[in-house]
Symmetry: C2
Subunit: 352 residues, 2 copies
DNA sequence: TGAGTGGTTGTGACCGTTGACATCGCTTGG
DNA sequence: CCAAGCGATGTCAACGGTCACAACCACTCA
């Protein structure tokens, strides 16, 4: 329990005034130098920078933001950070934002609408330049806040629904349909579905809806299904797969559709460990296209959710709007998810 | 490209003044109501809340923070978000912070010291209440900034070195030593090492150093090694394992130590796919203890890095300091990583 | 020589909220 | 009956910057 710092006892926090006194110019000039704004002679610029460095001055953005009513923050509100999908969206966002003055600030909702509302409120109270938020489903209050915020709002991941302002994503219904069609085309008939308990995962639900819809058109329906929540997705995938297969030994399933790649990978491993021929005995498919799949013994069929691209596009919309100061908005970008057949979805007919 | 909002055209952003006028009291009273501070009669409180809700007023924390010089933000600076270790640290931090007024703000450095310096500067310019930063190695400028910031600083993950203020972590040297000892005790002799190219991953380096140190004491040394950077860790693990094994066919290796669990898992899968008996022919171990391992066909030996606990403890230090307003500091917490033998590290002697 | 010019620097108001303190209207007790 | 006491509310000056504009400084050019 010793004293923290060693050299300069930093009593009162430094301000522009300190730097201005140390360098013999006005605060305004210091401000200009530090922001590279307006003309300042090379001589004074050097003098000021030297003094600032010397003192270890760090500008106070709080004061700056208040005075200029400009905040270079973009609020990013997502449900989770621990499932490989949103980190990649973040990467896309950051890629784009790095080329601008903007800075992302992340809030996590854990898939809880009330939590989302709180987080949104917190973030808006910092008056960010824009909001990127996952999904189209929000509480009424949240929608109202975003509608009234007067800043660009981009809802990401999903375009099956009505956007408040702009949106970037894929149609999950369509993704579900597309996968169903591919499975049907490959000749599978007895299909099992494995996924999260969905009440709050709207995108998984929409995929499921699209999926069953297309099955129905071919006179098929889900033969059995299995749901989970929490825990290690890989392990859950194993367990659920075991459960669903053992439950259907008489008339065995010939395909398993997983609502995400991680449980799909678990299922794949279960099958391989137990000598089940994939895709001979049974076909498998997941959703997301996580790079992680590359290392598996067999490549799981999946559908790329365009995560990186979604992040990029969303950030670009914000950046553009901030720059042009324009209140145009209302841009909707629907990306097309690509089906990746992999090794686990090929059978009788040639696919697609 | 239509107009965004529908109902209330939000021209000028709302302020306390708007609410005060709408409810017929002074701005100060509104402020008090909204912060639950000081005595306000039940009647006015209700009136004010009603007006605020009606208008959709969101307080401006920028102005609030400036006036009160109190910012409920904690800067969290970490190298990456896409490798399963830091997300869990974040979870620990958030767990604790949720019980306080504090709010974490994350900055990502991508393991680049200059980037870390920039991010730190950016975050400090928001005058956060504390900083949680990964590692003990920083640029001189970064150290200077933190030393002079006058707020609690907690360096996490590692305690092999000198902390600026407080620190929470494990000794990676010790972790490396411990693993080496376990491997030696199990009777393995020809040991390969597989890891990241380490110049910037100080913690991996320290584990490596501790590891070789103990080997040396038993008259052993690393027989061969293999390094990678970027890409899917699982796949890289496979590839590197194949490479290192094929390079040593004459005198085969009997153990592979991986610098993280993900490449370890890839290695494990390679071995299983190729009929190599684990741990009979060869033993394997990783590092981190990611839950993901639970789903693998065989449980990889690993060492838990106490990620959740580190996050929690760090957040607690900050919370305590903020609350007590105390400038005590200098607290160092060294956690003890636990060895998990799993299925891939047992052979001649019985382990530990 | 004096007005015009353009680059540099300073001045004072203001951003929206909070802290400290003053004020107001009432109840209370000697 | 009045001072004290108290809860509820208002006033005003910060907080640390930035903005718009004024002022100043050579110089140039007629």
């Amino acid at each position: 329990m010793s004293q923290g710092s060693g050299n300069t006892p930093p009593k009162r926090p430094l301000t522009l005034r300190d730097v201005s006194e140390a360098s013999g110019v006005s605060e305004m000039t210091v401000s200009r130098v530090l922001r590279n704004r307006g003309d300042v002679s090379e001589a004074t610029r050097a003098k000021v920078l030297e003094a600032a460095r010397e003192l270890g001055y760090v500008p106070n953005k709080i004061a700056g933001a208040l005075a200029s009513s400009r905040v270079n923050l973009v609020a990013v509100i997502i449900p989770s950070m621990s499932n490989m999908v949103f980190p990649e969206v973040m990467t896309g966002i950051n890629d784009v934002l790095e080329g601008t003055e903007l800075q992302a600030v992340v809030g996590i909702t854990n898939y809880k609408p009330e939590r989302e509302e709180t987080v949104l409120y917190q973030m808006l109270s910092w008056r960010p330049s824009g909001v990127i938020i996952a999904g189209l489903e929000h509480t009424e209050a949240a929608k109202a806040m975003m509608g009234a915020a007067g800043i660009p709002i981009v809802e990401i991941m999903d375009t099956d629904g009505e956007a408040i302002d702009s949106a970037v994503g894929i149609s999950h219904r369509r993704a579900g349909r597309k996968m169903a069609q591919a499975i049907i085309d490959a000749g599978y008939k007895r299909i099992g579905f494995l996924g999260t308990k969905m009440p709050l995962d709207h995108r998984a639900r929409k995929r499921f809806e699209g999926f069953t819809e297309v099955l129905a058109k071919s006179g098929l329906e889900i033969t059995d299904s299995e749901f989970y929540s929490g825990g290690s997705a890989l392990k859950k995938g194993r367990e659920m797969t075991e459960a669903i297969l053992k439950r259907n030994v008489d008339e065995p399933l010939d395909f398993l559709y997983y609502s995400n790649d991680m449980i799909g990978a678990g299922g794949l491993m279960y099958c391989l460990d137990n000598g089940i021929d994939v895709p001979g005995d049974i076909g498998l498919a997941g959703f997301n296209g996580i790079e992680f799949l590359d290392g598996l013994p067999r490549k799981l069929a999946t559908m790329d959710a365009c995560r990186l691209e979604i992040g990029r596009a969303a950030a670009e919309i914000i950046a553009k709007r901030v720059e042009s100061d324009g209140h145009a908005g209302g841009e909707i970008i629907t990306l097309e998810p690509s089906l990746e057949i992999g090794d686990t979805l090929k059978r009788k007919k040639k696919p697609l």
